[in-house]
């Protein structure tokens, strides 16, 4: 009797194209993804039509919805210089390791007295650090010192970077290397609180500020 052969086993599907595509996408997303560093505050920024991308060399003051003030300087080199100036002025000491760690941190917010304890806290737990943020009141205006030292330090590193770019033969604009002053506010922050910080900037004669916003479509008339 002739035997009819039935196909046995699992039907095989050629998965190659699918796998190719999957890896292509993985590679794409891996290369485009930019990871956000852990931030001690979550801020929901308002939206605007502005399409200016946040610049490189920035000095950023963050205000959360309770009006607590946080600070960030993007350049690690400048951060170290700024921290040393601050430690000297307020007579607070940190060990070498902590200074090193500080220079690679992102946003932080505490008084100078709290700083050693803040640095001892594990990075992941800093969000819960009990603090009122950086003081801005006129009797103890630490923010003013942070900003003025940061502006000086970032100005120096910006100039070095400018000179380095010039030496390479490029035709850089000094304007691109100067530190920019950014204010990141939560939608629910009281403007009064933001005005206090803005006044600190204005006291230092830094009048060109930038507000961080999320993008929004330009309305069509």
């Amino acid at each position: 009797m002739p035997k009819i052969k039935m196909p046995k086993g699992t039907p095989s599907i050629d998965m190659t194209p699918m796998v190719d595509l999957a890896f292509l996408l993985v590679t794409f997303f891996m290369l485009t993804a930019s990871f956000r560093t852990a931030e001690p505050v979550t801020v929901e920024t308002p939206s605007s039509i502005s399409d200016k991308i946040i610049p490189e060399n920035v000095l950023m003051v963050t205000l959360d919805k309770d009006g607590r003030v946080f600070f960030n300087l993007s350049d690690p080199e400048a951060r170290k210089e700024m921290l040393n100036d601050m430690l000297g002025k307020y007579k607070v000491s940190l060990n070498q390791e902590q200074v090193e760690e500080f220079s690679f941190m992102s946003t932080f917010g505490c008084t100078m007295q709290e700083l050693p304890a803040y640095m001892k806290t594990e990075a992941a737990k800093r969000a819960g650090f009990p603090t009122k943020g950086i003081p801005t009141d006129s009797t103890n205006n630490e923010l003013l010192d942070w900003i003025s030292f940061a502006a000086k330090a970032a100005g120096n590193t910006g100039r070095t970077a400018f000179e380095a770019a010039k030496a390479k033969g490029a035709d850089p604009k000094m304007e691109d290397f100067k530190p920019k002053f950014i204010l990141r506010v939560d939608s629910k922050t009281l403007y009064k609180d933001a005005a206090t910080v803005i006044d600190v900037f204005r006291d230092l004669n830094l009048n060109n500020l930038n507000f961080v916003t999320s993008a929004e479509a330009i309305p069509v008339n």
Binding site: M18, A22, T45
Partner: protein, 213 residues
Amino acid sequence: MAQIAESGGGDHGKKGKKRAKKGSTHVDMTPMVDLAFLLLTFFVLTSTFSKPKVMPLNYPAKVPDGEKVDAPKINNAATFILADDKVYYYRGEFYSKSQPGKDGPTELEEANFGSGENSVRKLLASWNDYVIKNKAILEQKLDKKQIADTTFKRKLDDLTKKPEAVKVLIKTDDKALCKSFIDLVDELKIANVGVIAPTDLSPGEKELLKEKN
């Protein structure tokens, strides 16, 4: 390719006769594919495409202590007052009840952030008509390559400083939120207002505001 390899260890199949296994190059790719998709899902979900944007805003320089500077006369000014969750505005200069101007004392009008009647957007579009019209002409010239990009920017800048262009003062109440402030500045930028000055409330305005609430 990529099919699940059949287990060859069993005693099924033909009795006795053992065939030499044909050299198969099939590799079981399933775990790899699983992993690839897992990673893919992870990156798709975590990646953020929109980098935060910034909105530049220039504040007026502070007057040094002890120096007294009279408020400059601004022609074609509009003042917005942000209170709690409301927006008020008035045009021109402020006249208190005790010293009314030729149109009587200043009254606050209410506006909103929608796009309909009495919205900030509509108001600004009508006030800043001159700039918006001239900007359109400039844009046409730019499209036709009659003027350069830099010229366009400079001309637009000059345009917003002309007497016909509206200049806006922003004043905020203690309870105003940053959101409404940014929204307002955003509306001003949409309407091509070039001169924006955030300032403090004057005592007269504070009183007017109190009456409103």
